[in-house]
Symmetry: C2
Subunit: 422 residues, 2 copies
């Protein structure tokens, strides 16, 4: 397709999405849940055709020489499809955020104001290889009253198309408005630019993927982008840290699932307790196979077996069984380290000193700050949101885990009896 054809096609999808969004916004909770349950059933019923499409993607991926990890992310099987359908049913069970009155008050002139939660409108989702995002993102956006335009990666295009078709067809039979969920059926790079430039029809764009993808979208987008950048998470063992808790939280945050954004990457330890705490913490980590990289004080305390941490380590998201360690002079230095080198995602203090904890929570500039809790709890499900579309590292609109509520906007509704200003 020519660039012009791509822009024309996506413009048309945008226009259709806006019309759909107005219709979705008027559906009540029951209607939306009925449609969601129909889509879950439709997805299960389409298992064979989805697996067939997925087999084509896998064959093409092998031919292209994708790594084993990439092929695994791409691979669907009946259990994974069933899990995707189960995800839709879970979203159906969550409370509808639309229509909730956030605030209401009356003014001296008698006019009554209501701030009411409404859908955002049309949301663009640009994602990489995992085909489950087609369903996960679309249904979260739909439940919160929004239309979606999805743009997946080329590796999963057949799987994505099959999933989108199953959702659209089974949804339509249950009352899903036309064009409520649209997948861009081609993967030309130009389609990202076309989508990101279309601020007339698109209210928000959410890139789901690596730093490169997010950076590209940020530089092209004319509409708001909600970014899910790295998690360079810290745990700070304060002078008053309970030794057992220090070990338990550090080991959990680092090793329970090292490949995710809320896993621990840098351990900070107050110098007064470094000599007593670090040996035990290090031994427990090394037992789990964690490679340690420490600053000079850390290496002196731990002697052999610990590599030297360079400045690069403080800004690295390992996503692996590697941990950098620094001994700090004070709470102030811990906070400064986190605010300087961290990614403002999730950080924890372990301490029995309430005053130190409160200062840490107040001064660390991150979306989620924890006192005596593993950073692995920085997660929409763990927060009780039921499901999440991601963890925002932005400060505007949504920060931290984003659930259904964060996929809505608001509107002021003002009622009166003829108030005029003149």
């Amino acid at each position: 397709m020519t660039s012009e054809e791509i822009h024309h096609k996506i413009e048309q999808m945008g226009r259709h999405a806006r019309q759909a969004a107005y219709k979705i916004a008027q559906l009540d909770e029951q209607a939306k849940n009925r449609i969601l349950l129909a889509m879950a059933a439709g997805l299960r019923a389409a298992t064979d055709s989805i697996l067939e499409a997925n087999a084509r993607d896998l064959a093409a991926g092998e031919e292209k020489g994708l790594t084993k990890a990439m092929l695994d992310r791409l691979r669907l099987d009946p259990a994974r499809i069933d899990a995707i359908a189960g995800g839709i049913e879970q979203v159906a069970s969550l409370p509808d955020p639309v229509g909730a009155v956030i605030d209401s008050w009356e003014r001296p002139n008698g006019m009554r104001l209501e701030q009411v939660r409404v859908p955002i409108g049309v949301i663009g989702i640009i994602f990489e290889s995992r085909p489950n995002v087609t369903s996960d993102a679309a249904v979260l956006c739909f439940k919160s009253g929004n239309a979606t335009i999805l743009r997946g990666g080329s590796e999963a295009i057949h799987s994505n198309r099959a999933i989108a078709t199953a959702l659209q067809q089974s949804g339509a039979a249950a009352g899903l408005p036309d064009h409520a969920i649209q997948l861009i059926p081609f993967t030309d790079r130009e389609s990202v630019a076309a989508l990101a430039g279309m601020d007339k029809w698109l209210d928000l764009i959410i890139p789901r993927g690596g730093r490169g993808l997010i950076e590209t979208v940020v530089s092209l987008a004319r509409m708001p982008v909600i970014k899910h950048y790295d998690g360079i998470c810290h745990t700070y063992l304060d002078a008053a840290a309970d030794p057992q808790m220090a070990v338990a939280i550090t080991v959990d945050a680092k090793t329970q699932k090292p490949g995710v954004c809320n896993a621990l990457e840098t351990l900070l330890v107050h110098h007064e307790v470094a000599a007593t705490l670090l040996p035990g913490v290090a031994a427990s980590l090394q037992q789990k196979g964690v490679e340690l990289r420490g600053d000079e004080t850390t290496r002196t305390i731990l002697r052999g077996g610990v590599g030297a941490a360079t400045d690069e380590d403080w800004v690295t998201e390992y996503l692996d069984l590697t941990l950098s360690i620094r001994v700090v002079d004070s709470l102030d230095q811990a906070v400064e380290h986190i605010n300087t080198f961290g990614s403002h995602h999730s950080d924890c203090i372990v301490t029995a000193d309430e005053a130190a904890a409160e200062r840490f929570l107040r001064e660390v500039d991150s979306g989620c700050v924890f006192h005596n809790v593993s950073t692995r709890f920085s997660d929409g499900e763990e927060f009780g949101f039921g499901a999440e579309i991601g963890i925002s590292t932005d400060k505007l609109h949504a920060r931290g885990p984003m659930g259904l509520k964060e996929l809505t906007s608001y509107q002021y509704r003002i009622r009166g009896d003829g108030q005029v200003k003149g």
Copy 2:
């Protein structure tokens, strides 16, 4: 200055602003108010030097051939400076939004979550000729705990510098952190690009000015932009509109202050009442000097004196004593017209029919929707916010009038007693 020097200088200002932001975030309400009152006094004390600087801008403006209206926007006098200082005192009197607990709950594992309002961080303000914005924007951002980097237009550079210097010096003596309020001291166009590209240090950018300025910032910015686009506001006279209220609200919304974004631009009238309502409404408007442009039905009903409205009229923000009028078949058509041609700012239905009113409020996709209230009340002061930084036409983060609360973000603070996931 070379482009490189500009980028270097602005990068330095950004880095300083981030440090200042962390300090401001820790100031309590009393400390911030003390600083604000000192700045108000300092601004009054600097009246002579500000007027001197303003005289230089005015002389340069006359030489450059600025229009009388532009020169008037630029002109300061002792009363205007006193009003700016009064504005600072008013902001000091408003409640501090920082630290408020938005929500709190406990999870089954015993961890306690708090969603707490925190400052955004560093806010960039790019504005055009009015020098009062230097103070107005900076103090609203400061009260909500943010550092600001201001970039004003070249016409007002001397006035802006004098105002910023007065605020900085009087503020510093009362405890204002260094670099809390910074004005870019030059007006090279490249400085806008430098600021808009600096997402490492700037969390938000707010352009205050015409469409051209906003478009430029939107296309350059890598960080969130809150936009204050046009107000193409509608009033819809429903079949059940009270005739007196129809006249009063229409005349108020159109004529009470026609040059502002919440003034009426298009009147929609239900066809069943067009023949009875329009003559009275039109006569009252024409008495106030309003030029009317109608669709065919309107022109037939009103006979002479009414020009023909073209498609261009439906998307025009006149900001003047001009009004376009269309007769519609139904509430549905009114909603469709507003959602298609409007700017999603502020729209009103006049009706005694509650069901029609509720449908209008729910279906019109605008930041503020009014029932039997003039759109002129779409305003932070009228809403009771005390002051506003503008009226957002965006849907993300802030929609409609933006007060102090909308200049904040939030953070999750999670407290526990050793919760681990594994």
